[in-house]
């Protein structure tokens, strides 16, 4: 089975080092969450994984093959990227946007085959977009748009699915829906899913493993219970943090202790 293997990746913009010798691997069927403070390199790591940025040192292997040795199309058949938000509101229908995910298979010119159409239809049905397929994407809600982008990445039929802050613009209900879907894709379809996420409690609930980044380095990796601890999080974020347990799922429940907060009851 394919794995993704990040070996000693160092990446700098101009002279500023963003990522320093990152070692990380992810396996089929698991959700790996990238967490850490703003500007710590989560998005940069995702960009390196999706070949937007080339590491100065180290390699990223998918299925044992260096992603930078693949053609653009081959890489897009291995790794699907779900960007944070659909930028631009070009008047395209849901189906037209999702169909673009077949470009890595069809190339620039070839018309979609019946197999392509079948993949598109199945994916739209799988994530409840089929009834909306003729709607203009610009008229959809934030949660629906998110699903369109996930569907587009899925019809690429990748082995690795990367999601950049998939819950950033969603309300509580849609956050849960989006991450439940992401979890299903990993657990039921055997995809490698890597998500960057700010919300540590969501990471604790939905990720199988968590990688905690701080200042471009990998501070810790492991299960939510081992990584999302008061000690590690206080170190990474530079503020006191307490970790409790989710009342229902018993996963770590993270709360900051805010030094400047004046009102409210302190125990």
């Amino acid at each position: 089975m394919a794995t993704i293997d990040v070996q000693g990746v160092t990446l700098a913009y101009d002279d500023t080092e963003i990522l320093h010798e990152i070692e990380l691997e992810a396996h089929p069927g698991e959700v790996l969450a990238l967490v850490g403070p703003n500007g710590v390199g989560k998005t940069t790591l995702l960009r390196a994984l999706s070949r937007q940025l080339r590491p100065q040192q180290g390699v990223i292997l998918v299925d044992g093959r260096d992603t930078w040795r693949l053609s653009h199309r081959e890489a897009a058949r291995q790794v699907g990227l779900v960007p944070q938000q659909a930028d631009g509101d070009w008047p395209l229908s849901v189906e037209e946007v999702v169909a673009l995910g077949r470009m890595p298979h069809r190339g620039w010119f070839l018309p979609l085959s019946s197999h392509d159409r079948q993949v598109i239809r199945k994916t739209l049905q799988q994530i409840d977009l089929y009834p909306l397929r003729h709607r203009q994407v610009a008229t959809l809600s934030g949660g629906e748009r998110q699903r369109v982008l996930i569907a587009r990445a899925l019809v690429q039929e990748p082995q690795v699915l990367l999601l950049d802050e998939p819950t950033a613009n969603l309300d509580l209900r849609y956050q849960g829906m989006a991450l439940t879907l992401v979890q299903q894709l990993a657990h039921e379809q055997g995809l490698i899913v890597i998500v960057s996420i700010h919300d540590l409690n969501l990471a604790a609930l939905y990720a199988d493993r968590v990688a905690l980044l701080a200042e471009g380095r990998l501070l810790a990796k492991g299960t939510p219970h081992t990584v999302l601890t008061a000690e590690l999080l206080s170190l990474a974020y530079g503020i006191p943090v307490v970790v409790s347990h989710h009342p229902v799922y018993n996963t770590p429940l993270v709360a900051p202790v805010l030094p400047h907060k004046k009102n409210g009851v302190t125990k």
């Binding site: 960009r47 999706s50 070949r51 937007q52 653009h72 199309r73 081959e74 890489a75 897009a76 058949r77 790794v79 699907g80 990227l81 960007p83 659909a86 930028d87 631009g88 509101d89 070009w90 008047p91 395209l92 229908s93 037209e96 673009l100 995910g101 470009m103 890595p104 069809r106 620039w108 010119f109 003729h134 203009q136 610009a138 008229t139 587009r152 990445a153 690429q156």
Partner: protein, 331 residues
Amino acid sequence: MRRSRVPLIFATTVALLLVTLVISVGMGAVSIPPRQVLAVLLQRSNPELSRTTVAIVWDLRLARTLLALVIGAGLAASGSAYQALFRNPLADPYIIGASGGAALGATLAIILNLNVVMPAAFVTALLAVTLVYFIAQAGGHVSSVSLVLAGVALSTLLSSAVSLLMFLGDRDLHEVFAWLLGGLSGRSWPQLQLAAPLIALGIVVLWSMSRPLDALTFGEETAQGLGLNLFRARALLVAAATLTTAASVASAGIIGFVGLLAPHIARRFVGGAHHLQIPMSVLVGALLLVLADDLARTMMAPLELPVGVLTALLGAPFFLWLLKRSETWPQ
């Protein structure tokens, strides 16, 4: 957009274009009824048809009307491509400096009496577009303001260069000037024969690249994530769109705003997917320019207005309206 309506929309537009074409050929100082125009075009021998009528249709009007059609189609296709490439609803061959660039090359060739008007127009247009792109680009996103400013500034520079050339060149200023204003007056088969194949080639290349164009509307990151070789796709698209623009400018001067209006109208009818939007833009652009040329010929007859002046009169207010709405795409 409901799929089922698309074929009907296309059929209607094609029919409208054909009817307009026949009526347009009949319009002018000597008015010819559509029935006779059709008879001449279909070469049915008809005792009613005088040799003058046949001559007017074939030698004077048909080529000119077809040229208007081809140029309108070409400008619309390149406008479609530029709008997706720049991810900006204000992009148009005229606004982004392609037309101005082509005009400079063409003027240079005319004044130097070199027989390379078309290649010269292409090369200078390509340079102009590339320059505007790099000036306007900031962090992968081309904002409306920087695009328009860069385009306008460069166009001003280019038109000053053209004026300077005209001033220095020992040529009939009026002739070059009238050509620059964008007109189809006196254009006939030779211009059509030169422009039509190049414009057709440009349109076919752009249409065949509908999928990369769709991908590019989502920005670099997504397009690349979908397996698009950005550099190769952009280079080919810019080349094809600019070839189309240059061929239009070299044969009929600067005609602005058709490339802006037509894609917007087309998107209203068939949506933004380029495999539908480009053919629809082509039809709408052809229709617009044929109609504009009809107006230009008849409004102040026997005086002919340059058609570029008319398209600017109609198109500029639309452009300002779009600018007011700024970054949003009209749905």
